[in-house]
């Protein structure tokens, strides 16, 4: 019968601590194994979690109901050479956005995006701005904070009005503040009335970007076509190259999340036909990217956790090693206790408590270390880290379990000693 009362447990713990304090250096060194084990488990998981959390947040900001179609220059472009002028024709057409809108019932919004760089003047300041021609739906899709004035509305588009919405970044480039609303901005020789200022997405250096990255000013897509046409000419390295791109991007919003993947397939088929498989666009589905990223995150966490788990295992072996040495060293004490009348399980408990005290204290210090490392990584390396409560509990639990598992064998060995032989031990 195993009967452990609270007061005897308290006494066992006191005795355990006393025995551990008898060999301070040894106890600390033994504990270090677990401290680093637990610390690295937490730190690894936090760094893994942080890295994938950042990727997930970025994908999520693209909208899980959205499909983003982007024009890209095909590798074998159909170029027309004429007097050293190279004209590349590729990308999405205005008609693509119309046909997507009209043929697929699950599509709720289609937003065309046309991006270009234009010289702009405001007061006496001139700058090159990134101009985005789009429709009114854009603003409900990205949902950025409005800082002043209003955004584009359907009538601006319908009547090709010369109005412009600045982003915070664009306003800053022009040295303008929120009072800019109502003033005149000249873009590529045309005058626009600034009607509003909105916040924009911070640029980050990852692969997936929201299309408004780096945008300075939004104008109605109809106006942009009217003023600047579709040919964009660039001078570089002595030759001029021109591109004819009608739309740089089409953002499609699907009515419900469950239709997203099927809609994307349909879009792909429609575009394949109209583009004759020219492969000059990309269809990306943030939702499937999200799913992939989540799967990657799981694998990543398992791998990192396993690596850190090995250091815990090493810590556990360290504990076992020391406890076996301790049992040998205290063979006589075990003999005395047994002769006096201690039962085997009481000896087991005595030694197990010592390992548990070691592993729990080591675990707690390890948790501290595990919190410190991600904090340092975030502060000094700028990497995001996420420490979850669950990870802390998990590592503390594993370290305690390590203590029990690796402490059990030495404790049982101690209890199995023949008291007669143990008493004779020098």
């Amino acid at each position: 019968m195993i009967n452990i009362s609270y007061s005897s447990l308290k006494r066992d713990i006191r005795l355990g601590v006393k025995n551990l304090l008898l060999h301070k250096l040894r106890s600390i060194l033994t504990m270090l194994g677990l401290v680093f084990g637990v610390g690295s488990v937490i730190a690894m998981l936090a760094i893994g979690e942080g890295a994938s959390e950042e990727a997930l947040a970025r994908i999520r900001s693209l909208g899980s109901k959205n499909i983003i179609i982007t024009s890209k220059k095909p590798i074998s472009e159909g170029a027309m050479m004429n007097n050293n002028i190279r004209l590349s024709v590729y990308g999405l057409f205005y008609n693509d956005s119309v046909s997507i809108q009209e043929t697929i019932p699950t599509v709720s919004k289609v937003v065309p995006v046309k991006a270009m760089e234009k010289d702009a003047r405001f007061n006496n300041r001139s700058a090159v701005l990134r101009v985005v021609g789009t429709s009114a739906d854009w603003f409900s899709l990205v949902n950025r904070e409005r800082l002043a004035g209003r955004v584009l509305n359907p009538s601006d588009i319908a009547y090709s009005k010369s109005v412009a919405v600045l982003t915070e970044k664009g306003a800053r480039t022009l040295l303008a503040n929120e009072g800019v609303v109502g003033e005149i901005l000249r873009i590529g020789g045309n005058s626009y009335e600034v009607i509003g200022v909105i916040r924009h997405e911070e640029a980050s250096d990852s692969g997936m970007q929201m299309p408004d990255r780096d945008a300075d000013v939004y104008i109605p897509i109809t106006t942009s076509r009217l003023h600047y046409g579709d040919i964009y000419t660039q001078n570089k390295a002595g030759s001029r190259s021109s591109e004819l791109v009608e739309l740089h991007q089409i953002i499609v919003e699907v009515s419900e999340e469950k239709y997203v993947e099927r809609t994307a397939e349909t879009i792909q088929r429609i575009l394949d036909i109209s583009h004759k498989k020219k492969n000059d666009y990309d269809v990306s589905v943030p939702l499937s990217l999200l799913r992939q990223a989540e799967a990657t995150k799981r694998t990543f966490s398992i791998v990192l956790g396993a690596i850190a788990g090995i250091s815990l295992l090493v810590g556990g072996i360290g504990i076992m090693n020391i406890m076996l040495a301790t049992v040998t060293e205290r063979t006589r004490e075990i003999g005395i206790r047994r002769a006096i009348g201690a039962k085997r399980h009481q000896i087991v408990i005595q030694f197990l408590i010592e390992t548990l005290v070691l592993s729990i204290i080591g675990g707690i210090i390890g948790v501290g270390l595990g919190l410190l490392i991600p904090y340092a990584v975030t502060t000094f390396a700028g990497m995001p880290t996420v420490v979850t409560m669950w990870n802390l509990i998990l590592s503390l639990g594993i370290s305690t379990a390590t203590g029990i598992i690796f402490g059990l064998y030495p404790a049982i060995r101690a209890a199995k000693l023949d008291p007669i032989i143990a008493l004779r031990h020098e």
Partner: protein
Amino acid sequence: MAEKDSSCEYAVRFENLSRHYDLGGQVVRALDGVTASFKKGSFWAIMGASGSGKSTMLNILGCLDRPTSGHYFLDGEDVSQLEDDALSDIRLNYLGFIFQSFNLIPQLTVAENIALPLYYKGKSDHECFSKAKEMAEIVGLSNRLGHRPSQLSGGQQQRVAIARALSTDPVVLLADEPTGNLDSATSVEIMKLLVDMNNMGKTVIMVTHEPDIADFAQHRLIMKDGKIDRIS
């Protein structure tokens, strides 16, 4: 658990007790059919040359070993074939040990050493301490309760061991060469203490090879080749 013996005037009774060791096919008869009885309140000295079987007898007496055959009645109960846990209980409740090398636990204080059996009996801290104080007074060490064994002389350590052995009020006090590590003056003090305990009614069984130490006992049992040679 154990068969009750009719007469309880004997603290210990051996009936045809044998202990054989099998050493690679060769059987060593450390104890070979020993029958003996030790009355309650008596003081015995077990003597004999090394290899005579006196240590084996003490191990069996102390319930640290089990006989191969025969019966051992302790306070009327047959304890010869009990399981390990039951033997631990017998040691805890019926027996007190005194060893040649004192066998105190170095990291515990005098009080904690004295009270160690009480701790295994599940007594509270308070009970343990007051009993330890009482026992320390009996052996004359009440001013040393907080000391470590290493801070005491050999004689004092043996007194602590005696106090520990007596703390559970055992039926039999077993002493294994209790003066073997002490000088003669201290030996006499310790023996006088054991005689005092015997006078207070404790049964004492002591293993020794020194005749002048054996003189303190009322009876002698002399072992030879696993058998009783002589009782006087």
